[in-house]
Structure formats: C-alpha cells, structure tokens
Point group: C2
C-alpha cells in the first residue's frame, strides 16, 4: 500500500509520500514514490505514484525519452503547460496498459496505478492533478485544494476539517505530516521514511526536497504532539451527561 497527498494552495504546492511497498506482508521494501522534474526559473514538477510498482516504474521510465501526445513525442521537461503534463502522464499510463495489461489480466491481476502531478510552469498558475489508471485525470481546485492516492481514508478527516486554499504553505506541510501520521498509525503497509517536496508559487523550483526518517525532529514532534493534542482535545470536550440524561429527548 501507499499514501501520497498533494496540496495546491495559494502559496504553492506541497507533495508528500511514504516509501513502503509490499508484495505480501512478508515482502516489504522501501522505494521512493516521488519523481521530480525541474528547470529552475522555468518549471518545477513533482510526480507521486501509488499502485503496482512495476506499472508505476514503467510509467516513469516511458516518460523519460518522451511519450507521443497530440502527434509529437513530448517529455515533462517540455510540455507547454501542466494540463499537457497530466495528459502526458495519462498517455504513459495507457502505453503501459497496452504493453502489460493483457498479461496482468491473464494472471488475474488488476491494472492498479494512480499518480499525482503537481507543479508550475513559468507564466502559469501552480496546478495539481490526479491521474487514474485509465489515463484520465482530475484537477484540484480552490474548493478542494488537495488530492490523495493510495490509502487515503485515515488521513482525510483532518484535511476536510482544516485545509483551505489560503492555508499558508508551512501550515500545509504540517497538515500533510499529520495526515500521513494518521495513516501510518492505522495501516501497517504505509510507513516511513517519507519524501517531501515543496514548490512555492512563482519560485519555479523545488524549494525543499527532504527524505524524512523516523528520527527526524519535526516528525517526532508531529507524532507525539498530535497524539497529545488529540487526547487533550477529547478530554476537554464536555462529558456526555447532557446526552445521557433520561429527559434529554432526541
């Protein structure tokens, strides 16, 4: 399993992924699920992937020499805009499906693959896309400024409650860490180290790219601080006497 989350906020793009892969519970490994494309001052993109590792690695490898799109062979380093970038990733997914899909199907294995592509090209706003296994995709918006792939449920409530398009970038990083920690605590197949990348709006470069290990000081603060904060928040809620009174009504 995997958990990846991307934010597209007023101040920029935040991308966070775990690194755990498993082919059965007894075959657990560490693979980065983050790839970057950068031409400082002109474009910066981050691609996160979830699903069958053979498929997502093939997608990334096909993207390197370029994939045919709209009659020309294009690469993420030269697509004219982020929408074309998402189309290109979708075309690579479809190319892998054409190559490997029938053999996978013959083995009863689904074509399991989803990707997040976030970033900015000079003169255009930052954008964030979720590309599905059919090669089609959706885009994050001001109303819903985050997208997730993989094991998304455990880490969703905190994003739903707190995140807005105007959340400051640093706060967005903290929220992604909380969302990731909630997922890691509840699903053994999602685990550290984590890969974090931040693309500030109009920075046109990857300002931060970190491999965050379990003993990273801030990660420890999030893990312990958030658990304690949740415990305090719950203890500060009033006891349900009101609810349990026999005359409480509906």
């Amino acid at each position: 399993m995997t958990y990846c989350v991307g934010l597209c906020l007023a101040q920029g793009v935040v991308m966070l992924s775990d690194t755990r892969t498993n082919a059965g519970l007894d075959n657990i490994s560490t693979f980065s699920k983050m790839q970057t494309v950068e031409n400082p001052g002109e474009r910066a993109m981050v691609l996160l992937s979830a699903g069958n590792l053979a498929i997502t690695q093939a997608v990334w490898n096909l993207l390197q020499p370029g994939v045919w799109l709209n009659g020309t062979q294009q690469r993420l380093t030269d697509v004219p805009d982020m929408f074309a970038g998402a189309q290109l990733v979708g075309a690579a997914v479809r190319a892998v499906q054409a190559m490997d899909g029938p053999s996978l199907m013959a083995q009863g294995i689904g074509f399991d693959c989803s990707l997040l592509l976030g970033g900015q090209i000079a003169g255009q706003p930052p954008r964030l896309f979720l590309i599905y296994n059919a090669g089609n995709f959706i885009e994050a918006t001001r109303d819903t400024p985050y997208l997730q792939i993989g094991e998304h449920k455990y880490g969703k409530p905190i994003l739903d409650r707190v995140l807005t398009f105007d959340t400051p970038l640093k706060r967005g990083v903290a929220l992604c860490m909380i969302s990731m920690d909630s997922t890691i605590r509840s699903n053994l197949s999602v685990g550290p180290p984590l890969d974090l990348a931040v693309i500030p709006t109009d920075g046109l470069g990857i300002a931060f790219r970190r491999r965050i290990t379990e003993d990273n000081a801030y990660y420890r603060i999030v893990k312990e601080g958030w658990s304690n904060a949740l415990r305090d928040a719950y203890l500060n809620l009033p006891e349900p006497d009101l609810l349990l009174r026999s005359d409480a009504g509906g």
Copy 2:
C-alpha cells in the same frame, strides 16, 4: 454504507450506529441498525448490523423464533453465555446464506453482512463480538477493546490513539460520538440520526438507549467542539521550520 462501533470497557459496553441505508445514491433511507435483547437483572445485549439490509433483517428475523445450535433451538433470550450468543448469530447468518446466497450469487451480488453483538449475562463479564459474513467471529479484548463494522477507517485513528480498556464509560460514549462524526463528515453514505445504547457492567440492563438526531445538543457540541479542537491542536503544533531548514538532515 453504515458505520457501527462497539466498545467493551471495564465499566461496560457502548454501542453506537448510524441509520443511513442506500440502494444507490438516489435511494437513501433511514433504518435502525440496532436491535436489543433485555431481561433486566439477568441479561442485556445489543446487536448492530452492517451490509445488505435484506440479509441483516433476515438474520434478526430468524433469531426471533430461535436458531438451531448444538442440537437445540435457541434464542438470544436464553443462550447460556455471550459466546453462545455470537455462535447463534453466526448460525443465523449461515442460515440466511443457505436460503439467499445462491440467488444473490446468480445476480452477481456478494453476501455482504457483518454484525456486532455486545452485552452481559448475569454472573459473567461483559463481552463484545464481531460476526463475519461466514458466521465466524472475533471478540474484543483488553488490548483492543473496540470493534467496528461498515465504513470503519475514518473513525479509527481517534480510537487507536486514545481508547483503552480503562477509559470511563461516559468518555467512551464521547469517543464513539467523535469517531462517528469523523465518519459522517467524510462519507456521505453514513448519516444521522444515530442510535446509542449503553450497558454498564453488572447493571444487567440497557441503561441508556437514545435516538440522537442532528439537533441533539450534545451531538452539536461534539461536531462543533471537535472541529474547533482539531483546528486549535493543529495551530498549536510548531511550524515545520525545523524540517524546512536546509541543514535539517534526515
């Protein structure tokens, strides 16, 4: 969809369920998923159900006249212990599977059904079981004093972080409400009103049984208070400057 959660704590059993059912997004109804069995001073049980409504209603109906178990026809009102109660519910599930399973399979519909049975019989400790669609079951323990059925992921992180066997009963009710609210916020197919039942240890009766509507004062406190508390907790976490410093290391 459905979300039901049961706790088996030192001070007693808490059972909470939503009431939303759906046969497609355009066919949403309210059905209680909670059934009770009570002989005050001798036994009290609560049964919660998730899955195909036709199956879970059939399970409850078969339990009324009694189901054959270990050579005799038994009812929840006369099983000798909670383990036999879970066996009896499992036997009813298997009886419905025998009746309806082949026709469902012919329509390509899975046999989707799971149940929580919690309660106490005089002279024995309170117990809580999760009965699967195959009729087999697991029991909550001191290590893991809660069980969930239905849409369980959104509401699990708060239970994992805070709940212990020694959590006071009232606090357990508050935790169930928080867990339910997290689920309702993230999954449209889980919704109020809620059904709550509490069986205090050695009370041998259902001390509280409430239908909790959306305008219930305590439910509103949980909804608003928890959102605010989470927001505060997140705002009180330090900003990730430590993480984003270029010399931050791993």
